[in-house]
Amino acid sequence: MNFFGLFKRSDPLPATAPVARERLQVLLAHERGSPRNSSKMTALKEDIIDAIARHMLVKPEAVKVKIDRRAEVSILRIAVDIPA
């Protein structure tokens, strides 16, 4: 054991405020997400339907678009029921 270590001030605690800031930013982006982005989602869905409609015949209700927001990544899921 280092004798002089006894007199040394222990290391200051690591700063936790940046962690708080980041956690809040991620969380609030998620919580604010759904209502504020609903018009964006509608527009995205319409564009997808248009793109598919150029190649095959689909009903608008056959296209399902969903965004899964997670802390690390968000997943865009597109499901299209194609008539047999």
Partner: protein, 271 residues
């Protein structure tokens, strides 16, 4: 033209009632006619913080239901003649306050005062919605702490959705008041900084109230801190915030306690 303010936060215990009392008294000290209204039906405390708990006869609900006149329920402050309190009911159910009755009271208060300050209960239930309903402007009280910031964000969303102004397609003017701020801890990275909170909530800052023993001391005495100790750091911060509400353009800083050496030595009350 009277202005209706709601003091709100979502989270409890962050300083809504303390801030309502302190800002109300500060506006009154600046010559404004002010009424502070307690919306916390069943858990009223603004009367206690204002030192008027033994003078309550009629309350908000008695007036809303037509069982008392507004003039009978209003309690004039003993220290400042242009400051009044409208207490909440302690015994009634929170659903006893009707939309119609409240609308009538707010309309009447607008004719009598320059500022109508509504002290919201915590939470996002009916009481909190009633407190914000008629607001022209909101003061969002936030502690530099994660749960308080999150709840403030929620309340900001509700101010844009559930108020009369929102129903008319207008916006409630919003002001952020950060309370219990410890500059030294924020500098050491132990506490969210003012700019962190501002970045996250994106609401213009009305003021920063430093953490101070003077706040508890004032509430022990039943005095708004701006009356109990006007020279203390929190009182100066509240007074500056009140003047900003009145339209003064003051630079925002965190007032520091003035160290009163003689006062400490002789045991006098330090300013």
């Amino acid at each position: 033209m009277a202005k209706v303010l709601v003091v709100t936060s979502g989270k409890g215990g962050v300083g809504k009632t303390t801030s309502t009392a302190a800002l109300g008294a500060a506006l009154a000290l600046n010559g404004q006619k002010v009424v502070v209204v307690d919306f916390d039906v069943g858990l009223r405390n603004l009367d206690l913080v204002m030192g008027a708990e033994r003078r309550v006869v009629y309350d908000l609900i008695n007036v809303a239901q037509g069982n008392a006149k507004l003039s009978q329920a209003l309690i004039r402050d003993k220290r400042l003649e242009n400051l009044a309190l409208l207490p909440a009911s302690q015994t009634r159910d929170k659903d006893a306050l009707s939309e119609k009755g409240l609308a009538r009271i707010i309309k009447e208060l607008r004719t009598l005062f320059d500022w109508v300050i509504c002290d919201s209960p915590a939470g996002i239930e009916r009481g909190a919605m009633m407190a914000m309903r008629h607001a022209d402007a909101a003061i969002i009280i936030t502690n530099p702490e994660v749960s308080s910031v999150r709840d403030s964000d929620r309340i900001i969303g509700l101010l844009d959705a559930k108020t009369e102004k929102a129903a008319k397609g207008e916006r409630v003017e919003k002001h952020l008041l950060i309370t219990r701020y410890d500059q030294a801890r924020a500098m050491r990275g132990e506490m969210l900084k003012k700019d962190d909170v501002l970045d996250i909530l994106s609401v213009p800052l009305l003021g920063i109230i430093p953490e101070s023993e003077q706040v508890l001391r004032a509430s022990n005495l039943g005095q708004p801190v701006t009356i109990a100790n006007p020279l203390s750091a929190p009182a100066r911060a509240y007074n500056d915030a009140a003047r900003r509400l009145m339209g003064d353009n003051l630079a925002i800083n965190v007032p520091l306690e003035r160290f009163n050496l003689l006062g400490r030595i002789f045991g006098g009350r330090a300013a």
